[in-house]
């Protein structure tokens, strides 16, 4: 169901973004990557948040199934985070003719998060499966959602400012058509992440069940 929704929303969102939404005055056609880059970034945050929520549930209820759910969500978040880095890098190349800019706060933040969540996987793979691994992963995942605002604040305090700030305190700085197209794209990206998450989770659960059955037979 999520997959169908993702396909529908993403196709219509991209169509709206390319043909219906007006072109940006300053950036022209290259601004269209906005409709991919920003939804991907927000989806990555959503995945990390979902993973941390499941981690919290695990520590709270001590039910082991949350471990797999938290891990899968963070896995998806890391993939979307990497996509954010790639699309942001392409955008920077087109706009400013550089692949990487330390002045672009979102990209720097995603680099920190990417390093953090890569360490999460290192932590997971260096511990034998079991309740201890579940606990440690969950605690580290919770540190991740604390790190997001803290790093954001740090970069904001320290950083120079020339990322195009589209979302401001007094509402988004774009036309209604652009915002509508953006929302459809964002919905599609969320649905895509949900579909991938559900698919991955089913696969991992099957794996686990298969292993249990094999052990029972052996």
């Amino acid at each position: 169901m999520f997959a169908a929704a993702a396909l529908l929303l993403l196709v219509s969102g991209m169509t709206l973004a390319l043909y219906w939404a007006p072109e940006d005055v300053d950036q022209g056609f290259s601004q269209k990557i906005f409709y991919i880059h920003v939804p991907v970034a927000l989806t990555a945050y959503a995945c990390f948040g979902w993973g941390a929520w499941k981690a919290l549930r695990l520590l709270w209820k001590r039910e082991q199934r949350y471990d797999l759910e938290s891990y899968t969500a963070i896995h998806m978040g890391t993939i979307f985070g990497l996509l954010t880095l790639v699309t942001g890098s392409i955008w920077a190349k087109i706009s400013w003719n550089i692949w990487w800019s330390w002045g672009e706060r979102q990209l720097v933040l995603f680099l920190i998060l990417f390093l953090f969540y890569s360490a999460y996987f290192m932590l997971r793979y260096s511990i034998d499966p079991g309740p201890q691994r579940a606990n440690l992963s969950a605690v580290y995942a919770l540190f991740g959602v604390a790190l997001i605002p803290v790093s954001f604040l740090a970069i904001r305090i320290a950083g120079t400012l020339y990322h195009p700030a589209v979302f401001k305190r007094d509402g988004p700085d774009m036309t209604g058509e652009m915002f509508a197209a953006f929302c459809v794209c964002f919905g599609g990206m969320l649905a895509l992440a949900a579909a991938l998450y559900a698919n991955e989770l089913t696969g991992k659960r099957l794996d686990e069940r298969l292993r249990d059955l094999r052990e029972a037979l052996a």
Binding site: L59, L115, F116, Q132, I157
Partner: protein
């Protein structure tokens, strides 16, 4: 509350005593930080920039702290002490607090050598830098101790700790370097304080889950 602090103090005293008898961690930290400063002198070619030197001071502090944190749970692991501590009739987070206090003391002592050495080798250090170092130490020890306990559960312990710690230490670096280099450091010091409070609470609350199953 009093009981809790007394428990933590006893645990911290145990670590300090162990260090006084064994002298394994602190001399290594001091020697490392001085060697690192000498290496950094040669890493900055030609005319030395004060800003670059200050930045490297923070690298030296961070890596020295990592060295100390890597040793923090060695005794517990080698003698399977952690199981005993967890069984002791005290709050589990008191174990964390005691360890943080001991690591903090070691780090302070190492910096008591490092900062004068930096002044001797490079340039003077002002009040805000010292304040930032103290604030950063709290955050480094609070987060680092929890992560050291995590890393000691894994297979690749020595490898794991820096990987887990460095991404979380980036905000500390931003705050510390900022406070040491700008004219009005209040914002950066405030940020470091915020980091300390937030992550200390998080580490304090989650330590129990790290040492129990």
């Amino acid at each position: 509350m009093r009981r809790y602090l007394a428990d933590a103090a006893v645990l911290a005293r145990k670590d300090v005593l162990l260090e006084l008898r064994g002298r394994e961690t602190l001399p290594a930290m001091v020697l490392f930080v001085v060697s690192a400063l000498v290496v950094f002198h040669f890493a900055l070619p030609g005319e030395q920039s004060r800003l670059a030197a200050l930045g490297l001071l923070w690298v030296a502090i961070l890596f020295t702290a990592l060295l100390g944190l890597g040793r923090a749970f060695v005794a517990e692991r080698e003698h399977r002490l952690l199981d005993g501590l967890v069984l002791a009739p005290c709050d589990r987070s008191a174990i964390w607090l005691g360890k943080v206090a001991a690591t903090f003391v070691f780090l302070l002592l190492a910096e008591a050598v490092a900062l004068p050495a930096f002044q001797l080798f490079f340039s003077g250090i002002d009040g805000p830098t010292v304040a930032a170092v103290l604030l950063a130490d709290v955050g480094i020890c609070a987060v680092g101790t929890l992560l050291a306990a995590m890393a000691s559960a894994g297979r690749a312990r020595e490898l794991l700790l820096p990987l887990l710690f460095l991404p979380l230490a980036i905000p500390i670096m931003i705050g510390g370097v900022g406070a040491a280099t700008v004219e009005h450091p209040a914002r950066y010091l405030g940020f470091l304080g915020l980091y300390d409070v937030l992550f200390a609470i998080l580490a304090w609350a989650s330590f129990e889950y790290v040492v129990t199953e």
